[in-house]
């Protein structure tokens, strides 16, 4: 068998919502190139599946013309439409099949809670991924296995890959193990927060501990948070879809336990509402529209500023001068007009500034507050409208209601939005298909417009994880680590916590989880040990050189070795950097006292030697030698780990240590052989 090459390796990581895939290993490992939703749509015949919603449209021949004339984006020529329908001219009614890349109607998600619930659909999805990437013949395949897949499922998949794709080599890798590969750590507690579930897995010396792995924590993923928002906001006219978008927005945050919800103040309300554009560009790389280059949104219909004039709008967003959507302005061909207006506004603004200086000062003070301190924030969401409805309402919505804005969906850079990747996929696939179909799809894409709306959200947006998710996950982590039979391993496991999965993408989630663990489970050095004689034997007698004097404790937590572990345990316990944020002055004071106390303790060279864990809890950071992962975040580290593993297993090792199953082995042993060569 010829050796495998980097560019031929195919990696597929199916998840309950998003399936990641990539052909070839780049020089520096990148986030997955192909991200598609894990769903298929039933096709005409039972057991057949389509990657996109296919609508069957019965149209009388005149109908499309009317529809398209009324369309706002009326740049679709009639010739194209006729081109697709012309051969059916002799019928009264024509049946048009069109793919709708944004629709989720009737979609079947083959993975639920990490389990395969519909094999036929799942196989169709894998085939779709395979065909999209169209790998060459000599392609080894690595598939990331969900922890919940049973041995039987592994066999079924193995059989599928060998018999359907005739792959020369196949490897199944546990997702928790892949994450630990990404973090280059042999020992880790992997907390994988998914869509509907959360898995806590123990990886010990590159082996996933099967003991007591149990079932996943249901209702502890991203979906549960959306559901929680929906519960809180349902009464205020929010739909599920709005809650989903809100969750992904930067204004939605998980507050650390014990943090108080901001209280509404009259001035703060108005000011913060108006300046949310600034918030978006400031700290939101998470799909806030303003951050993506859109102009700062003005006051919405529902806000107190609804009656403000245009100048006022820019006043409120004044620190946003730099992020105006230049492209739009230039494209609109009114550059000079715009600049003139801008000058005028500046003058107006200066005047206004003088007029209500006190008000502005207070407002800016309010604006300087982080999102978590504000009672209210404005949130822009997109509502999907099918073509027909839009044609009727579109124009009026534009003209009449100031708060609405109709147009193509804004391209959002944030990777969690499935819509964009889907479009990309659609484009990838289209390249190989007929020109005609491509045109059709483009029309479809433009046909379905998004209506952008603005709405104000109160402190509910900060309660996204208030449904007890954090408690449950924290308790499970504690339980899982406590159930590790080797007592001496436990403190290592506490020190190498990895939080991954797209459910943990919600702002502040990881910090809040860590703070919960700290608040509930951290064992602090006991003062009872001061008078005991538990001196570590390697401790030197204190000499008055000053070398033993404790340094101020304001440095970042250590990750390296070389520091005395006992010292480390003592310092991290008093380290303010690890304490939950958002503490009051009083708490800070308390902390200072504690710190002094610990320093005294250290001066007398005492330390507790707990067998109890955890004496410290640390979250690992993704190694920074993968620059491509800096911007996207480490939530999908599983794919990085998969690439590392694929490189090692297929390219470096070439099967010497049985990291994968080869075709020959499959022919000899059948699907059951996978248990012997599975990572």
């Amino acid at each position: 068998m010829p050796p495998f090459k980097d560019e031929h390796v195919l990696i597929i990581a199916p998840g309950s919502q998003i399936t990641l895939a990539q052909l070839g290993l780049p020089e520096s490992f990148t986030p997955a190139r192909l991200r598609i939703p894990t769903r298929m749509f039933p096709a005409e015949h039972k057991g057949e599946w389509e990657p996109m919603k296919v609508r069957e449209k019965k149209l009388s021949r005149a109908a499309p013309q009317i529809g398209l004339n009324g369309h706002v984006e009326g740049d679709i020529t009639m010739g194209e439409t006729n081109g697709t329908t012309i051969n059916l001219e002799d019928h009264e009614e024509e049946i048009l099949y069109e793919e709708d890349p944004t629709s989720e109607e009737g979609a079947v998600y083959p993975l639920r809670d990490g389990r395969v619930v519909d094999w036929s659909c799942f196989f169709a999805l894998l085939t779709h991924v395979y065909n999209t990437l169209s790998p060459p013949f000599h392609t080894p395949i690595l598939v990331i296995a969900q922890p919940q897949w049973k041995p039987q499922d592994h066999e079924t998949l193995t059989q599928f890959f060998f018999e359907k794709f005739r792959t020369p080599a196949f490897c199944l890798m546990d997702s928790a193990l892949a994450i630990s590969y990404a973090y280059a750590t042999p020992t880790a507690t992997v907390v994988d927060v998914g869509y509907q579930k959360c898995e806590v897995s123990i990886v010990n010396e590159y082996v996933v501990s099967d003991l007591g792995r149990g079932t996943p924590l249901l209702n502890c993923g991203g979906e549960a948070m959306t559901q929680r928002l929906f519960e809180l906001l349902n009464g205020k006219g929010f739909t599920k879809e709005m809650c989903e978008q809100l969750k992904k927005n930067a204004i939605c945050e998980v507050l650390p336990p014990g943090a108080e919800l901001p209280v509404e103040t009259e001035l703060g309300n108005a000011a913060s509402a108006g300046s949310t554009g600034a918030t978006g560009s400031g700290d939101g790389q998470r799909g806030s529209i303003a951050a993506q280059g859109g102009a700062p949104r003005g006051p919405g219909v529902n806000t107190d500023l609804g009656d403000a004039d245009e100048g006022r709008e820019f006043k409120d967003g004044e620190d946003d001068d730099g992020v105006l959507d230049v492209a739009t302005i230039v494209a609109s061909g009114k550059t000079s007009e715009f600049l003139a207006r801008k000058e005028k506004e500046k003058a107006e603004r200066a005047a206004a500034r003088k007029k209500d200086a006190a008000d502005a000062a207070a407002a800016s003070k309010e604006r300087a507050l982080p999102n978590s301190k504000r009672a209210k924030a404005v949130f822009h969401y997109q509502e999907r409208r099918p073509l027909e409805e839009l044609n009727v309402n579109g124009k009026r919505a534009m003209g009449g209601e100031g708060g609405q804005d109709v147009g193509e969906p804004k391209r959002q850079k944030s990777p969690e939005l499935g819509a964009e990747s889907e479009i990309q996929t659609a484009e990838n696939a289209a390249a190989a298909r007929k020109e005609e179909r491509k045109e059709e799809r483009r029309r479809n894409r433009e046909g379905t417009a998004f209506v952008r709306k603005t709405v104000e959200v109160g402190p509910e947006r900060l309660q996204v994880a208030s449904g007890g998710i954090l408690d449950q996950i924290a308790d499970t982590i504690h339980r899982r680590i406590s159930s590790v039979p080797e007592v001496n391993k436990r403190s290592d496991l506490w020190d190498s916590l990895v939080i991954a999965g797209n459910g943990s993408r919600v702002k502040g989630f990881k910090e809040a989880l860590l703070a919960t663990l700290h608040a509930r489970y951290l064992i602090s050095p006991s003062s009872a040990t001061i008078f005991s004689s538990e001196l570590p034997s390697n401790f030197t007698t204190p000499v008055a050189t000053g070398a033993n004097t404790p340094q101020p404790q304001h440095h970042a937590p250590h990750h390296g070795t070389g520091v005395n572990p006992l010292l480390l345990a003592a310092t991290t316990a008093s380290n303010p950097n690890l304490a939950p944020p958002g503490q009051s002055q009083q708490q800070l004071h308390q902390q200072l006292q504690q710190q002094q106390y610990y320093q005294q303790q250290m001066q007398s060279h005492q330390h507790s030697s707990h067998a109890q864990t955890p004496t410290s809890i640390k979250v690992l950071k993704l190694p920074d030698y993968f620059p491509e992962w800096k911007d996207t975040g480490a939530e999908e580290a599983v794919f990085l780990g998969a690439q590392v593993a694929a490189k090692v297993v297929f390219v470096v090792d070439q099967g010497l240590s049985k990291g994968f199953m080869s075709r020959t082995e499959y022919n000899e042993m059948g699907p059951q052989g996978i248990h012997e060569s599975c990572l």
Binding site: F160, G214, R479, P485, Y521, S526, T529, Q594
Partner: protein
Amino acid sequence: MATGQASTKPPDATEYGGDEISALVLDPGYATTRAGFAGEDVPKSVLPSHYGIIPTISGGKQLFGDNSIHTPLPGISISNYMSREGTVEDWETAANLWEYAITSRLTNAKPGPLATNGLNDVENQEMEMEGIEAQEKPLRDNPLLMTETGWNAGRDRERGIEIAMENWGCPAYWLARNGVLASFASGKSSALVVDIGASTISVTPVHDGLILKKGVMRSPLAGNFVSQQLRLMFSQSQPPIPLTPHYLIVSKTPVDAGTPSQATLRSFAPNTEPDPSFRHFQEERVLTEFKESVVTVWPGPGRLSGHNQQGGTNMDIARQHPGKPFEMPDGWNQMFPALDRYRPIEALFDPKMALSDASNPAPHQSQTIGALIQSSLAQVDVDIRPALLSAVVVTGGSSLYQGLTDRLSQELQVMYPGTRVRISASGNAVERKFGSWIGGSILASLGTFHQMWISRKEYEEQGAGIVEKRCK
């Protein structure tokens, strides 16, 4: 799927000829229920034998598994399907919990019907219909090896095969004594197995792979007894030591040793509190942590209540040993002096040291480990006693107390001077905790064991009574 590719000769109708690793081993215990595939080194599915019950209008909903029974749901109560004797008490729940243990991690409830897995698109609908009856049984493809205690007898022995054959559709079944399996796990066919579990401590003489039924001895001085001792120690100390389980803590702040805790406690709205049994169960978690990190067996020589050669009491010596700090979930912490570390478990060897109160009487001398071994050996043939003493296998989760095996070895040497006493206890905590499961995994994966299985056909011909005949 490719079943039995390697074998060319079809198996006899009477014997089960499954040649694969798909046999399952189910080992129920008081603390945990272990299930997994034969041939593997650890059970993949380890569930607490405790289960939760949520009150509903139609009686109660049962919750199984680690994740669901630790959440303080309104009105949740915790029970156990095992009796304190280590045998199954509630068979109905047991069957449910076992099925959950198997289907949640090991097999699919409906083992991938070939017709719908997309690989073999069979046009013939009839074939599909034919199989449906069997497909709904979770263990259609898997022979099952179950374990039982040495004192399990009568009707209880037959229940297992009935559940396996009737409810789960197993093709073959076997029932093995866990003492025998534990001795297999340590590579011996003759041994004196000392199994220290959660609810019972048992001594089982095994000779040539069979238990000597008369010599099986047991007593309740096991893990739960130590927990009870700890509870007594906490409540009898001055001032009483608070025992607050994790679920009640919202956050804790560090406090000085011995001072009251300053934790923020969780409050429950009226009628949403969990049942007291839930709290008791959660307290056990804290006690387990205490047992793991603080409790130690007095290293000897002699007993804790005894005297040493110089005439001083061992208690005085113990007082000089270092203590160990422990922090409760609410932040309360204290240095536990060495005497407190030794005392809760000393009663396993010396009933005089046991703490007791009105509802927890002190144990009897005949219940200690030493006495159990003594009376067990007294029941077996005098010729095999030396052989058994030279192969004392210590297993069970509660045998993991620091220093327990050394102390046991000392005690036995005092009791049987002049006899070679050898204790074999694995240094690996996993092997100790799951000793009998691992033995079952070894046994069921042996090639020679295949002729032993009670096949479905035999069961159908002879009924459940066949267990009594075949599985000694």
